[in-house]
């Protein structure tokens, strides 16, 4: 089944002359991990907010074209209903944490859709376990580290048992180790629960191996959509879109320019190591 389908979608926020998204047509299947890549103001957050109906139900905007999430027309589905299907995690976890304890935070969503108490308790335990915060139940969220807060925000989204998880720049406040842990968690969520995961980021460097697919946005338009090894090798398009290419993919392109016909494209560290070792070994015959 399709996790979501945008068809010629255009978004213009109320009071703005600019199209935040312009003729975007994207369909994502359930179980995919998709990186939504773009610079500031490329339309990443708008794309995310369409999926849980925040745009246009809470943030006034003119939306043209179709937005379907798990078979439902978003324009005719309430934010509350969508919240049971789509979990949303924002850039700064503080912006969505407001309860006095970790447990209350995670229970908040299910309580609001009148889930029976016993079921809420089991969902809270499950969600905290998945993100590695078991036993943190009584702790105040304000006392957690940046990485723990981010994991709590994810647990709060998971307790609604969403089929689609949308993360808008989740690495923003995390240190490198925190980012590595986050990506391992997302991989687990897909493998174990078949969850569809959308990650909006400005930087693809540490996501090249996690994602199945990369959608490159520029000024509200989709300029590339495909496998990471394909999209992230299109160095010029990434540069024009204001995104820096992953270092290994960039190196592959630079070597192909400098030594035409002498190297094969590579995308991983291991591939790079082998190609360059070969290139150095086979010296001689270069154009001066």
């Amino acid at each position: 089944m399709r996790a979501f389908e945008l068809t010629k979608t255009r978004v213009r926020y109320r009071g703005s002359d600019i199209l935040a998204l312009c003729d975007v047509s994207v369909g994502v299947d359930e179980g995919e991990i998709v990186l939504l890549l773009g610079s500031n103001n490329a339309g990443k957050s708008t794309f995310c907010r369409l999926l849980n109906g925040l745009v246009p139900h809470s943030i006034p905007a003119q939306v043209d074209g179709a937005v379907e999430v798990l078979g439902r027309d978003v324009s005719k589905t309430s934010v509350a209903r969508l919240a049971t299907l789509v979990g949303m995690v924002f850039q700064e976890p503080e912006s969505q944490l407001f309860c006095m304890s970790v447990e209350e935070e995670v229970a908040f969503g299910p309580e609001n859709i009148a889930i029976p108490r016993a079921e809420i308790i089991s969902r809270v335990e499950w969600a905290l376990g998945v993100v590695g915060l078991s036993g943190y139940n009584a702790r105040p969220p304000s006392n957690l580290s940046g990485g723990e807060k981010q994991r709590l925000a994810i647990a709060a989204a998971l307790s609604m048992r969403p089929r689609l998880l949308v993360l808008d720049e989740p690495a923003y406040a995390l240190d490198p180790a925190g980012r590595t842990d986050l990506y391992a968690l997302l991989r687990t969520l897909r493998e174990r629960y078949g969850m569809t995961i959308i990650i909006a980021e400005r930087d693809a460097e540490e996501l090249t191996e996690l994602c199945d697919r990369v959608i490159l946005l520029r000024s509200g338009r989709v300029v590339a959509d495909g496998a990471p090894s394909e999209v992230l090798s299109r160095i010029d398009e990434m540069v024009v879109a204001g995104v820096s290419p992953p270092q290994i993919a960039h190196l592959s392109a630079l070597l192909a320019d400098r030594f035409p016909g002498k190297t094969r494209p590579f995308f991983t560290m291991g591939g790079a190591e082998k190609e360059i070792a070969d290139l150095v070994r086979t010296s001689g015959g270069d154009a001066p």
Binding site: S39, N40, S145, G146, G147, Y172, A173, L174, D175, P176, A177, G178, R179, T180, R202, D203, E205, E206, G242, V243, S244, P246, Q247, I248, H250, L251, L254, L255, R258, M269, A272, E273, I276, A277, L279, V280, R281, S283, G284, D286
Partner: protein
Amino acid sequence: MNAVVTAQRLPVISLQDVSFSYEGGIEALKRVSLRVAKGEKVAVVGGNGSGKTTLAKHLNGLLKPSSGKVLIGGQDSSRTSVATLARTVGYVFQNPDYQLFCTSVEEEVRFGPHSMGLGRDDESALVERSMKLMGIGHLREQSPISLSLGDRRKVAIASVLATSPEVFVLDEPTTGLDTVESAQLMATLDVLRSEGMTVVLITHEMRLVAQHMDRVIAMSEGSVAFDTEVEEAFSDSDRLRRCKLLAPPITVLAQRLRAQGALSKGAATPLQLVEQVVRVRGERR
């Protein structure tokens, strides 16, 4: 600027056995000793909560040590006002909105030198030079709050630059910027460095550290975990992991290629690595 030639290698900042506890007793710095010499480019790195920002706020006297001693330009930070220390060390906050308050960019940049009581001509020269170095001259009439985050950061840096400090401390200046904006910002830092200024950069962004910094001080649980040249800092992946850090892919690749004898030097960018390959192939021909 009071750059004395003989002071070239003297430390402009020196921390001796510095500990610091916040109210409530959390010990954020534990017996930290280090020296920063004039003209150095130092990155302060570490995981969330490792003590980076607490350390940075000791470098300009915003925080005073609970025990130990901080010397800034030879002055004991515990006995000197922040205003006086600010002539030696300029501090750029992580959030530029903490320091921007004037109605125009030019006024913002003028505020610092004006309060130093310089003559009108000297003041204007500093303002113009700072705006030019940061590339914000065309924004002079605009209100700082109307600008993009990247431009607000540049205004914040220019307003500190206009007070001509010897040392620049920047707390995560690229957070929230996209890659084009952060490349621009780092290019302007390279300009400051070429002007002889000392730069201390607090950051999570290891590619920028590898590319622009000379020395790395890694903090972990309030202590200095290691303090080395940048090349060496990224050579021990286990040590990095313990400090919640990760080396950039190109740095790791260059190290692996060196280990197997394919390259003779490290590289911090894809282009540098290509240059290495070109050179080695040339030698082996």
